[in-house]
C-alpha cells in the first residue's frame, strides 16, 4: 500500500473512530518504537499517520510558469519623491487626511514621482474622495494606470487626464482612454473639449456618454445648458437621469449671482455684525473648496482674537465659542501658510497676557502647529525641475 492510500485510509478510520473500525494492518507497527502506543489502536493510528502524512506535508516542487510574464509598468522618468516628503505622506495618511488634496496638488506642481508602495492606499482613498482623482492620476502617472489595468480594481483612474494627452487615444478603441483624452483636453483648452463632446455625442455608446457627462459635470459651464437639456430625450435612462441632474445644477449656476470676493464679503459681514456671527460662519464654511487670500484670512484671524478677548471678559458661554472654533480650524486649513508668522506673533502676545494661567479662548498654539505642518509639507516639495 503506498503512502497516499495509507493516509487516505487512516483519515477515514479516524473520522468514524477506531472503536467502530479497525486500523488496517495494526500489528505491523511500521517502524514505530515499541511502547504503550503500539498497543492502543488509536495511538497506533496516530503513529502511522505521522509517517504516512509526511509526503503530503513535504509537498511537491514548485510548478513551472509558462514563461510569458505580463508586461511590467512603463518607466516613469520623473525624479523620486524626497524621503522627508515620503515620511510626510505617511503622517498625512495616518493623522491629517484633510491635507492630502493640498499636498497632492503640490506634488503634481513640483513634478515628483511617488514611491509605488503608496499607490494602492491612495487609489483606495480616491474611490470615495473623488475630488482628488485628477491630481492623483497625474501624480501616480503610469503606475496608477498599470495597477488598474492589471488588477481590474480602481478602473476610474483610467478615465482621468494624463500628463500628455495623445490624440491617438481619441481615435483608438479604448473607451476609458478616449474619456481620459477629453479630460486632458479640458486642462489645456476647455472650449475645444466642450465642442468635441457635443460634436462626437451622436455616435457614442452609453458608457462613453456617461463618462463624457461626468466631465461636463466636473467642469460646469452654463453655456452647455441647451445641449444638456437636449439629452432629456436620449435613449438610455441613465443618460436621461444624469443629464437632468446636471441641467438642474447648470440652471442654478446660471441664475445665481456672481460668487462674492472673499475678502470683501468677510469685511462686510464683520462690519455689519461687529464681530463674528452665524452668517460669517456660514460664508466661511461654504468657501472651503479653495485656498483663501491672505488679507481675508488676516481679517478672520484678528476677529477671532478680538472675540476671544471679549469672551474672556464676559465669561459667558454661548454658540459663539463653537463657531469661533470652527472658523479657527478653517483658517488653519485654508489660509496661506505665510499667515503663520502673524499667528506666531499673536501667540507670543497671548502667552505674555495670560500669566494667571487661564486657558485662552482661542487656541493659537494649535493653529500655529497646523499652519507650520502645512508650511513644512509644502517646503519639502520644492520643485524637482
Amino acid at each position: 500500500m503506498n503512502s497516499a492510500q495509507d493516509w487516505a485510509e487512516l483519515v477515514s478510520v479516524a473520522l468514524v473512530g477506531t472503536d467502530r473500525r479497525a486500523v488496517p494492518g495494526h500489528d505491523a507497527g511500521a517502524g514505530v518504537s515499541a511502547d504503550q502506543s503500539s498497543n492502543d489502536p488509536a495511538l497506533a493510528l496516530l503513529s502511522r499517520a505521522a509517517v504516512a502524512g509526511l509526503p503530503r506535508r513535504v509537498g511537491a516542487p514548485p510548478e513551472r510558469f509558462d514563461g510569458a510574464l505580463p508586461a511590467p509598468a512603463p518607466p516613469d522618468p520623473r525624479p523620486l519623491l524626497p524621503d522627508a516628503a515620503a515620511r510626510r505622506l505617511r503622517t498625512i495618511l495616518d493623522s491629517y487626511p484633510k491635507y492630502l488634496p493640498e499636498w497632492l496638488a503640490a506634488v503634481r506642481a513640483a513634478g515628483y514621482r511617488l514611491p509605488a508602495a503608496f499607490a494602492p492606499a491612495l487609489l483606495d482613498l480616491a474611490r470615495t474622495n473623488t475630488l482628488i482623482r485628477p491630481d492623483l492620476a497625474l501624480v501616480l502617472g503610469p503606475i496608477g494606470r498599470w495597477l488598474a489595468a492589471s488588477t481590474g480594481a480602481w478602473r476610474y483612474i483610467l478615465r482621468e487626464a494624463r500628463e500628455h494627452p495623445d490624440p491617438a487615444d481619441w481615435t483608438g478603441p479604448d473607451p476609458d482612454a478616449r474619456i481620459a483624452y477629453v479630460a486632458g483636453l479640458y486642462r489645456t483648452d476647455p472650449q475645444a473639449a466642450r465642442e468635441l463632446i457635443q460634436s462626437a455625442w451622436p455616435a457614442e455608446r452609453t458608457p462613453v456618454k456617461l463618462g463624457l457627462l461626468a466631465l461636463l459635470a466636473r467642469h460646469p459651464d452654463p453655456r452647455d445648458l441647451p445641449f444638456v437639456q437636449s439629452l432629456a430625450r436620449d435613449s438610455s435612462k441613465q443618460v436621461r437621469d444624469e443629464s437632468t441632474l446636471l441641467a438642474g445644477g447648470l440652471q442654478r449656476r446660471r441664475d445665481r449671482a456672481e460668487r462674492a470676493d472673499f475678502t470683501a464679503e468677510v469685511a462686510r459681514l464683520l462690519a455689519s455684525a461687529r464681530g463674528i456671527s452665524r452668517d460669517l460662519h456660514n460664508f466661511v464654511m461654504s468657501r472651503t473648496d479653495e485656498p483663501w487670500p491672505e488679507d481675508g484670512a488676516r481679517l478672520l484671524l484678528d476677529s477671532l482674537v478680538a472675540h476671544a478677548a471679549r469672551a474672556a471678559q464676559s465669561d459667558r458661554v454661548d454658540w459663539s465659542g463653537w463657531i469661533a472654533e470652527q472658523i479657527q480650524t478653517a483658517v488653519a486649513d485654508q489660509a496661506p501658510v505665510s499667515l503663520r508668522d502673524r499667528v506666531s506673533g499673536l501667540l507670543a502676545e497671548q502667552v505674555a497676557a495670560t500669566l494667571d494661567g487661564a486657558p485662552p479662548r482661542i487656541d493659537l498654539a494649535a493653529m500655529l502647529a497646523l499652519l507650520d505642518f502645512r508650511r513644512d509639507m509644502l517646503a519639502e516639495l520644492e520643485s524637482a525641475h
Binding site: W7, L10, D19, G59, P62, R64, P72, A153, L368, A369
Partner: protein, 482 residues
C-alpha cells in the same frame, strides 16, 4: 533656536548622531501611540527643550491638556545597547508615552539644540538613576560575595533551580499524559464528533496545558479550532493530532534523542531558553546582518515581535524574538532594510534559527537605501523546507529570500501566484497565513504588485508547500515592508 546636535561630538561617544524616524516609530508600543507621537513631533507644544549628545539625554516640556506642561526626559544608551530610558510626568501607563515619542521625533528632525548644561530637573533625575543603579549593583555584589563565601548558599541556590526545573518537567509530563488520553479518546470515538463539539473542550484542554507549564503545546491545541473549520478539516485535524502525538513521544524519549532534536522538542513544548543561556551555550556568528523583515503577533497576554536577519557574508538566516505586554515598548527597534553589525548566538536546535544579540556594534540606518539580500530560487526554497522538515518534523514554514520574484495576478484573490524568473517556478501567493484578515491580505497583494511594478525583485517571505507569504520586497534599492 540654536543649531542641531554636533555630529562629531556624537561619534566620539558612540551614541548614534541621530536616530531616524523609522527607528523611533519602531519604539512605539502601539499604532495609536505612534500617531499621537507624530502629532507631538513638531515644535509648537514644546518648550525648554535640549539635548546633550555625550550623555545621550534629550529633554523637553510639552504642553498637555492639564495646566502644567509635562516634563519629559529620554536617555539613549550608548551603542544602542538597550532600549532608551523614558521619564514623563504625564499619567499615561505606556512606555514610551506619546510625549516621549514626540520629543524623540523632534530631536530626530534636528530641531532640538545641543546644550552643555543640564537643567536641574534632569540632573536630579540622572542622579536618582545612578543612585538606584549603584544600590542594585551593591546588592548583587553582596549576594554574589555571600554565595562565593558560602558555597553552601550557592549550592542551595542551584538546588532550588534544579528542583524547579524538575517540578516543571513533572507537570509537563502529567499535562502531556492528559493530552494523550484526550487524543486517544477523540480518535476512538471519531473525529466527526470533535467537529460538532464546539470550541469549549479544546479551550479547556489548552488551559490545562498552560497550567501544566507547556504553553507551546497549548498553542498548538488552540490551533485545532481553525483546523476544524477548514475545508479539508479531516486531513488537517489528523495531521495536527499526529504531530501532537509525535511531540508527546518526543518529550517522553527526550533523553534518547540527539541533543539538537531534544532542544527542538523542548522549544516546541514551550520551554524557551533565556538570552543568557543562549549566549553561553549557543553557536556564535559575527557578521553584518540585514534586517529582512519584522512582524508583530498579538497574543492574548503578550505581543511577540519577530525580526528576521540575513548575514551579509554567507546569507545565513537568524530570527530575533522579543515579548512585551500590550502598552509597553518591544525592545527591538530594528527597521526593515537596516544593517545590524553584531555578534549573535544561535539557540541550539535541529534547525538553528532563533538567535540573541550578544554584542551590538552598530546599527546602520543612515539612508533609506537598503542593500539587496542574497536570494535563491523557489526550488531552493522548497528544498530548504524539505530539509527543515526532515530535521524538525513540526516545521510549518521556513523563511526564504527569492532573488527574482514577480507576483502574477489571479482571477480571484486566492489565485494570485508568485513567479520566480530565475528558477522558472511558481507558487501560490498565500497572504492569509496566521489568520491575516482579508483586507490586510489585499494590502499585501497590492503592495507587492505596486512596489515591484511587474519587474522581478528580491522578496523575503515564509515558504510552505501551500504557498509563499510575502513579508518584504526590495524596490529601487529600498526595502518595503508589506
Amino acid at each position: 533656536m540654536a543649531g542641531p546636535i554636533n555630529p562629531s561630538a556624537a561619534n566620539r561617544t558612540g551614541i548614534p548622531a541621530r536616530w531616524t524616524a523609522a527607528q523611533i516609530h519602531a519604539l512605539a508600543p502601539d499604532a495609536a501611540s505612534q500617531k499621537a507621537g507624530v502629532k507631538l513631533g513638531g515644535p509648537a507644544p514644546w518648550s525648554e527643550y535640549g539635548a546633550q549628545a555625550e550623555s545621550g539625554l534629550v529633554w523637553g516640556s510639552c504642553k498637555g491638556s492639564g495646566a502644567k506642561p509635562y516634563q519629559v526626559t529620554v536617555q539613549l544608551l550608548a551603542d544602542s545597547a538597550g532600549p532608551p530610558v523614558y521619564a514623563c510626568t504625564c499619567p499615561s501607563r505606556k512606555f514610551p508615552c506619546k510625549h516621549a515619542l514626540g520629543l524623540l521625533l523632534l530631536w530626530s528632525a534636528g530641531t532640538v539644540p545641543e546644550s552643555e548644561v543640564l537643567p536641574p530637573r534632569v540632573e536630579e533625575w540622572l542622579a536618582g538613576r545612578r543612585e538606584r543603579a549603584e544600590r542594585s549593583e551593591a546588592r548583587k555584589a553582596a549576594q554574589a560575595a555571600a554565595q562565593a563565601d558560602d558555597p553552601e548558599a550557592a549550592r542551595r541556590a542551584n538546588q532550588a533551580t534544579a528542583r524547579r526545573a524538575e517540578q516543571r518537567a513533572r507537570r509537563i509530563s502529567s499535562g502531556l499524559d492528559d493530552l494523550e488520553l484526550w487524543l486517544r479518546d477523540q480518535v476512538r470515538a471519531g473525529l466527526t464528533g470533535l467537529k460538532g463539539g464546539g470550541y469549549r473542550p479544546i479551550d479547556d484542554l489548552a488551559r490545562r496545558l498552560v497550567d501544566a507549564q507547556a504553553p507551546g503545546v497549548a498553542g498548538r491545541v488552540r490551533e485545532l479550532a481553525s483546523c476544524l473549520s477548514a475545508e479539508d478539516w479531516p486531513e488537517r485535524t489528523l495531521t495536527e493530532f499526529a504531530l501532537l502525538h509525535l511531540l508527546i513521544q518526543g518529550w517522553r524519549h527526550r533523553d534518547a534523542l540527539p541533543a539538537p532534536l531534544a532542544a527542538t522538542v523542548r522549544r516546541r513544548i514551550g520551554l524557551s531558553l533565556g538570552a543568557a543561556e543562549i549566549a553561553a551555550a549557543g553557536e556564535h556568528a559575527d557578521d553584518r546582518w540585514l534586517v529582512l523583515g519584522s512582524r508583530d503577533r498579538i497574543g492574548d497576554k503578550l505581543i511577540e515581535r519577530r525580526v528576521w536577519l540575513q548575514g551579509e557574508s554567507g546569507g545565513r538566516l537568524a530570527l530575533l524574538l522579543t515579548f512585551a505586554p500590550p502598552g509597553q515598548s518591544l525592545g527591538l527597534a530594528l527597521p526593515v532594510g537596516a544593517v545590524l553589525d553584531a555578534d549573535l548566538a544561535f539557540a541550539p536546535d535541529a534547525v538553528p534559527l532563533r538567535a540573541v544579540v550578544v554584542e551590538q556594534k552598530a546599527l546602520l540606518t543612515e539612508s533609506a537605501q537598503s542593500p539587496a539580500p542574497h536570494g535563491g530560487t523557489l526550488e531552493e526554497a522548497a528544498a530548504a523546507f524539505a530539509a527543515a522538515l526532515a530535521a524538525d518534523p513540526w516545521t510549518a514554514a521556513v523563511p526564504v529570500v527569492v532573488g527574482s520574484a514577480v507576483p502574477l495576478v489571479g482571477a480571484r484573490p486566492e489565485d494570485w501566484q508568485i513567479a520566480d524568473t530565475k528558477g522558472g517556478g511558481r507558487v501560490p501567493l498565500f497572504a492569509r497565513g496566521e489568520g491575516v484578515d482579508p483586507s490586510r491580505a489585499d494590502q499585501i497583494r497590492y503592495g507587492l504588485l505596486a512596489s515591484g511594478g511587474g519587474h522581478p525583485a528580491p522578496l523575503f517571505g515564509l515558504y510552505r508547500p501551500g504557498g509563499l507569504t510575502p513579508l518584504t520586497v526590495w524596490s529601487e534599492g529600498r526595502a518595503v515592508s508589506l
